[in-house]
């Protein structure tokens, strides 16, 4: 994984709360056996009309949303299924960070393992972002701070270990494998 220290981009806003992973990528696209190319199926049922053409009403299809790397969403983003296809689809499309007041546990875990930043902010910051689509936002992982174009900066919580991995471009896999001797000792010591 490439080291990730900062995301600086305009935002795209989908204000709905409880955006579940079935919306992020519907189940019928999960028959793939790879993780590649899922960006075209991101938000498929909102993004495309029944005839397969782009839905001009959907925010991601608007001209000013093109190239945005930060998605601002309503509360409880990524709830539902554990499908890692959801962060894969967002990343393949070009989204590097998701901001909400609350992000579902499994989605958050999956996102961090793929270099997609799940950023939770307070209600006031979230409301400002929801009210200002297209705002240029800076997310600095080294300071764990999000800065609005107004200059207002706010700290966001992020797991220390996940941050270390993201900033150094390492993954948890290597760390886990470095514990194999302890894992073997645990297995040997267990009496049940």
């Amino acid at each position: 994984m490439e080291p990730l220290k900062r995301v600086h981009s305009k935002t795209v806003v989908i204000a709905s709360s409880n955006i579940d992973t079935d919306q992020i990528i519907p189940a019928r696209f999960l028959t793939t056996t790879t993780k590649d190319g899922l960006g075209k199926q991101l938000f498929a049922d909102w993004r495309y009309l029944a005839d397969g053409s782009l839905n001009p009403e959907f925010v991601l299809n608007r001209a000013d949303a093109q190239g945005c790397q930060i998605l601002v969403a309503g509360r409880n983003f990524g709830c539902g299924s554990s499908r890692e296809h959801a962060p894969w689809a967002l990343l393949d499309y070009g989204i590097r960070a998701v901001i909400s007041t609350e992000i579902a546990d499994i989605f958050k875990s999956n996102a961090l393992k793929n270099g997609l930043l799940p950023i939770t902010v307070d209600d006031a910051t979230a409301q400002w972002l929801l009210d200002h689509p297209g705002a240029e936002v800076d997310i600095d992982l080294s300071t764990a701070r999000l800065t609005l174009p107004t200059g207002v900066a706010t700290a966001f919580p992020i797991d220390a270990f996940a941050r270390h991995c993201l900033m150094n471009g390492t993954d948890e896999f290597g760390y886990l494998r470095s514990k194999l001797d302890l894992i073997e000792r645990y297995e040997a010591a267990r009496s049940w």
């Binding site: 204000a15 709905s16 709360s17 409880n18 579940d20 079935d22 919306q23 519907p26 189940a27 019928r28 999960l30 028959t31 793939t32 056996t33 790879t34 993780k35 049922d45 029944a50 309503g74 509360r75 409880n76 709830c79 539902g80 299924s81 554990s82 499908r83 890692e84 962060p87 609350e102 579902a104 546990d105 499994i106 875990s109 999956n110 393992k113 793929n114 797991d159 220390a160 270990f161 270390h164 948890e172 896999f173 760390y175 886990l176 494998r177 514990k179 194999l180 302890l182 894992i183 645990y186 297995e187 049940w192």
Partner: protein
């Protein structure tokens, strides 16, 4: 030692390395369940690194999500309808063979939905840590296991190390007292709980369902409860094991036998929250006042008693609420009873077990599915299918005009082609009423098996208590 919760006991027993300020815990996984949808990418990682599955003896594979439910496709030579699904099934067969993982494949008598077969084989046991690349892994918590869904990257971690890096979740006591009234099922109880807690109220927490109501539930009912913990956002849901649990597990094919059984039960009896153990959050539910429940919106928290009307939008989220009702074709103030029904689905890891089918049969016996309604009944496993046929349930279903299929996830998420058409109303015993969950544009109303069967007979949303 201070009083500890059931969760804390199971968590601590599996800490290879405890959590620190700098790193999450290294948590040992006793049982890794895999299926065809979320495992291929993880197997690919192993292949690219030249690594084996470290503990194939702790790994169990089956296929359920994209498998067909028509007998001629499972056992005959009729091809699987969805090409990509067929490829995924073959990929799992190849991966299981290459890595030495036991697979209950397409024609295996032990195949079924992963969360149904592991308990029925006795693989799911109290005190275990169990993971699967599937959010409804919470089901296994019904046995006092710590069981939760993971992503495909984590599936790879467990393959290679039998461990996961995990931050320790908080605990949440769900205390349920009072007797469920006739016609009110475990599904109604968990839908009520989700309605109270909300779809994100459990985020960051592990539920422990406690109290006399829970103690009085069968294992099938407990699994229905724990299954939907994730729909309240919880990482997992647990129920302390007791005589009901031990009775269920005794003599199951993979449960301990002889002296090992006695030793296991003695250990399992310690898996209760100590008196006075502190929880980070709690809620009290009075089960005696509950009614059959039904969802009216696009998440499981949008739920009302079946005799109620749809609430009017209130508070700040009016647009989101209106969008959900718009998708459903409903309006605030509408009565739920009498709403249109096109398809009825009885099955899934939530309600595809034998007791669920018995409940549906109580209503369907001697009655017919209403004209214009399709009733699809999909058992949770091939074992349940055989049991239902032996007990005469399948005959009742077929006499009523239902379609009786081979086991699988089927119309819960429609990956295998069992879908609901756009705009149609599906009364479903599954776990998610998200937009498009059962098919593009499909409208899902979540209910118990009793309510599903009653609605199939009446051809509209119906109160099962009138037919019992």
């Amino acid at each position: 030692m201070s009083a500890r919760t059931l969760f804390d006991k199971v968590w601590t027993a599996h800490e290879v390395v405890p959590e620190t300020a700098d790193a999450p815990a290294v948590l040992y996984i006793d049982l890794h369940l895999i299926h065809e949808v979320t495992s291929p990418q993880a197997f690919s990682v192993l292949k690219s690194l030249g690594l084996p599955v470290r503990r194939p003896d702790r790994t169990l594979a089956t296929m359920d999500h994209s498998t067909p439910t028509r007998s001629e496709q499972v056992f005959g030579n009729v091809p699987i309808k969805v090409d990509a699904a067929a490829r995924q099934v073959r990929q799992l067969e190849r991966n299981a063979a290459e890595f030495g993982v036991e697979l209950f494949g397409m024609r295996d008598a032990r195949r079924g939905i992963v969360h149904v077969i592991s308990p029925e084989l006795g693989c799911t046991q109290p005190g275990m840590t169990i993971v699967c690349g599937d959010s409804h892994t919470s089901t296994h918590g019904a046995f006092g296991a710590l069981a939760f869904g993971i992503g495909s990257t984590e599936v790879g971690h467990v393959f290679a190390t039998q461990c996961l890096l995990q931050a320790k979740p908080k605990t949440f006591a769900v205390n349920v007292e009072g007797k469920l009234r006739p016609g009110v099922a475990a599904k109604d109880l968990i839908l009520s709980i989700i309605g109270r807690i909300g779809v994100s109220g459990g985020t960051g927490h592990v539920f422990e369902y406690r109290g006399s109501t829970i103690r009085g539930l069968s294992m099938d009912e407990r699994m229905t409860i724990c299954n939907m913990s994730i729909e309240a956002g919880a990482r997992a849901g647990m129920i302390a094991p007791d005589e009901t649990t031990f009775e269920y597990l005794k003599n199951k094919p993979r449960a301990p036998k002889g002296a090992a059984w006695d030793a296991a039960v003695a250990r399992w009896r310690t898996l209760v929250s100590d008196p006075g153990a502190a929880f980070d959050a709690s809620i009290d539910i009075d089960a005696s006042t509950l009614e059959p429940m039904i969802t009216f919106g696009t998440n499981p928290g949008m739920v009302v008693p079946i005799t109620a009307t749809i609430p009017q939008a209130s508070g700040g989220a009016t647009a989101v609420y209106d969008k959900a009702l718009g998708y459903m074709g409903f309006h605030g103030g509408d009565a739920m009873l009498g709403k249109r029904v096109d398809v009825v689905f009885i099955g899934s890891c939530t309600n595809g077990r034998l007791e669920d089918l018995q409940a549906a049969a109580r209503i369907l016996k001697g009655r017919k599915v209403a004209a214009g309604v399709k009733l699809l009944i999909v058992p949770g496993s091939q074992q349940i299918k055989r049991d239902a046929e032996t007990l005469g349930l399948a005959q009742i279903f077929q006499d009523a005009g239902a379609e009786w299929r081979e086991s699988g996830c089927s119309m819960c998420l429609g990956m295998n082609g069992d879908t609901v058409a756009a705009g149609q109303y599906s009364i479903s015993t599954s776990n998610r009423n998200f937009e498009g969950r059962q098919g593009v544009g499909a409208r899902t109303l979540l209910v118990s098996p009793l309510t599903a069967a009653a609605s199939a007979v009446q051809g509209k949303v119906a109160d099962p208590r009138e037919l019992l």
